[in-house]
Symmetry: C2
């Protein structure tokens, strides 16, 4: 039984394809999500389906897997049962012999839940479509706004958090404003839009080498993104944000605020801790044994962003832990001992805009066009499904030559 | 001033590109909608952006057009002002010299508005995504349903209305169930799904030649669609529909009911009638002069599905009326008389499933593969935007070879 069809959970299922086990994969969405490209859905470059293949489709040929669309509500580790709710509120109890929990992470507003309504996060397809609606609607409202000050506010976009998602999102909003939309409006010049990237720490992409952070800062500047490091968000309301900066409190009026700052383990980590008597760390993550099993429950494995392992919450970590877990389950079934998980760091990459990316592979530090091409290649390779690869490649080629973005539908209700 | 960026309104704007006029195009959506392919978004074959290009993008190079995202609330024909509401509820008053109203049509439930919540229509991108969510969720719920009778209900799909949209939608749902999804589920056989196409009149595609209706009925039967002509909907609730058939009252339990039956002119027809002292016909349409102008208001033109002209509510009619209206405005500005509008019927087509379509062109009656290829060619040609043509062509090629559908994300909230 696998809870979660993200990078980790899906890898477990696939690696068990030749094992003599029956696999149940349970997810509350009907699709896997290629989260590294979610910001491209939020900025109109890709369609949702291209990065979110249905889990059933991905696993259709693997006859030992059953996929269930349901939301887990709790664990009975003694009775070896997972409790969940299916479509239309139907309660479910699913028994298991082996359990893998790979429920990833969610946004956290650090106890300021009231910020969520003004500053949506970017974790799901629904989030991405909401963010896209907000960005595109801000330009529409600005076009109709006669008051100069209100127009400036509507054309100000604040992204909170300069990790890879924040950097990529800010870069894309800047390109959207200065390039894609520039000739679309008559009353406003979208090129005068202000894109602010707010980071509490001292530099963007803190997980990368310092030189790449510096390079990222230069790339952002050349795109017109105003990177503000050492700035903490003190408040968010319908009109903008309050920042605590080294120079003191600062008010930034903004029409759109997007939250790419706080990540917290899935609440299922708490359910597991409650069921097993464990304790969570400050990020809500659950400690695991060296072999990724839950302390006291060798039949339960926990992987990915919800575990307190000291490793970054990235897809390569989740995937390697997934592959390891599948191997460990096979070993245990064969009566053998488990082994500790070791992460093989294959590198780190982020893109900032057209032709611009930063890449770390071992001692290698790359920036610029070469890094960007490598980024393209790797993202196309890791996309699931031949159709998605073709479609994304065609979309990117079209965008490259036309500077256009095809997916720019505002799906929400009309203004009235 | 043009109200509505559909087939008619957009054609007016484009035909005025070399005229010495300033054009304002007002729409409550930010996109044009290629409605003939909306059912393909509803069944996962296409992404929204591919059939809904942003109006600003379509008209970006036409410097004499300004696009406004706003919802019209009323007309002051004496003062020559259109009243509207923009994003975030901002009231607008837009003055005009010449007004073209091309606000199309909406669903009607014939006075049974309570049916809407159980049987969504298919008029907008938001509608299509809702229908897609409902169809895909029905299969998900069925997979988890232990009770045989409830499972049968969940796997029953009712489409009301056998015009082109109803026929195409029913055909696609049947293909989705019997082909695309067949190997995706483990507990249910989606191939046993029941697709019911309910039509009050004596035949499907009543606007077509009788022989093509017969051919359509055969094609639907071979796809496994149960076409029920002469059946009137007497009731719709959360559990299914009640039909009045020649054999008496019949209850059909269904998990999904989709409304493709009633069309009524936009409420703006009523606003225009109130402002001009005119009267609407039974379909809520407004009578116009032979030159498409509003009686008593030679400076106001009304075109497309909202006019009572006796012509069908199709895109060719709206487009030809749009072109005519642009010419008439130019003539009037040049001090010349207007001329009556004449519709040149270039034919009629509908598709039923893979390789199956029906086409009427003059005396020509086509069915089968040739008709389907012609349908493909014409739909690709009329799609707006080079990128959309390429993407749709690639999507259809992929679907053709893999029988897959890439856009199958359930975007709604998870089950809990």
């Amino acid at each position: 039984m696998i809870v979660g069809g993200g990078f980790g959970g899906l890898r477990v299922a696939r690696r068990l394809r030749r094992a003599t086990v029956d696999v149940t994969l349970l997810d509350r969405h009907n699709h896997h999500l290629f989260q590294p490209l979610l910001y491209q859905v939020a900025t109109g470059s890709l369609a949702p389906g291209e990065i979110a293949p249905p889990l059933r489709g991905v696993l259709r040929r693997q006859r030992n897997v059953q996929v269930l669309l349901a939301d887990v509500t709790g664990f009975d580790l003694g009775g070896r049962v997972v409790r969940a709710v299916g479509p239309q509120g139907r309660p479910l109890e699913v028994p298991y012999d082996w359990l893998v929990v790979a429920a990833a992470a969610t946004d956290t507003y650090f106890g300021r839940e009231e910020w969520r309504q003004h500053a949506p996060g970017l974790k799901s397809i629904a989030d991405a479509l909401r963010v896209r609606d907000e960005i595109l609607s801000a330009f529409e409202a600005a076009e109709l706004e006669p008051d100069e000050e209100s127009r400036r506010r509507l054309l100000t976009f604040v992204v909170v958090g300069a990790g890879p998602t924040g950097v990529e999102l800010a870069g894309q909003i800047a390109e959207l404003a200065r390039d894609t939309l520039r000739r679309d409006y008559r009353s406003i010049d979208t090129g005068t839009s202000r894109v602010l990237l707010v980071e509490g720490g001292p530099r963007a992409l803190a997980a990368f080498d310092q030189r790449l952070s510096a390079r990222t800062a230069r790339s952002l500047a050349s795109l017109g993104v105003d990177l503000r490091t050492g700035a903490l968000v003190a408040g968010i309301d319908a009109q903008g944000v309050e920042l605590d900066t080294p120079a003191g409190r600062e008010r930034v009026d903004a029409g759109t605020v997007i939250w790419a700052a706080g990540v917290r383990a899935s609440p299922l980590a708490g359910e597991l801790a409650a069921a097993s008597g464990g304790e969570l760390d400050r990020g809500g993550r659950i400690p695991v044994q060296a072999d990724m099993s839950l302390p006291g429950h060798p039949e339960v494995f926990v992987i990915g962003d919800m575990t307190a392992t000291g490793l970054p919450g990235t897809s390569p970590v989740a995937m390697q832990q997934g592959a390891h877990t599948a191997r460990m389950i096979e070993r245990r079934i064969a009566g053998r001992e488990t082994r500790p998980f070791h992460f093989r760091d294959k590198g780190n990459m982020a893109t900032i805009g057209r032709y611009r990316a930063v890449v770390e592979i071992g001692p290698l530090r790359l920036g610029g066009l070469v890094a960007w091409l490598l980024w393209l290649l790797i993202h196309i390779t890791y996309l699931i499904g031949f159709a998605n690869r073709l479609l994304v490649l065609l979309r990117w080629s079209i965008s490259f030559f036309t500077h256009g973005r095809v997916e720019r539908v505002i799906t929400g209700e009309p203004p009235r």
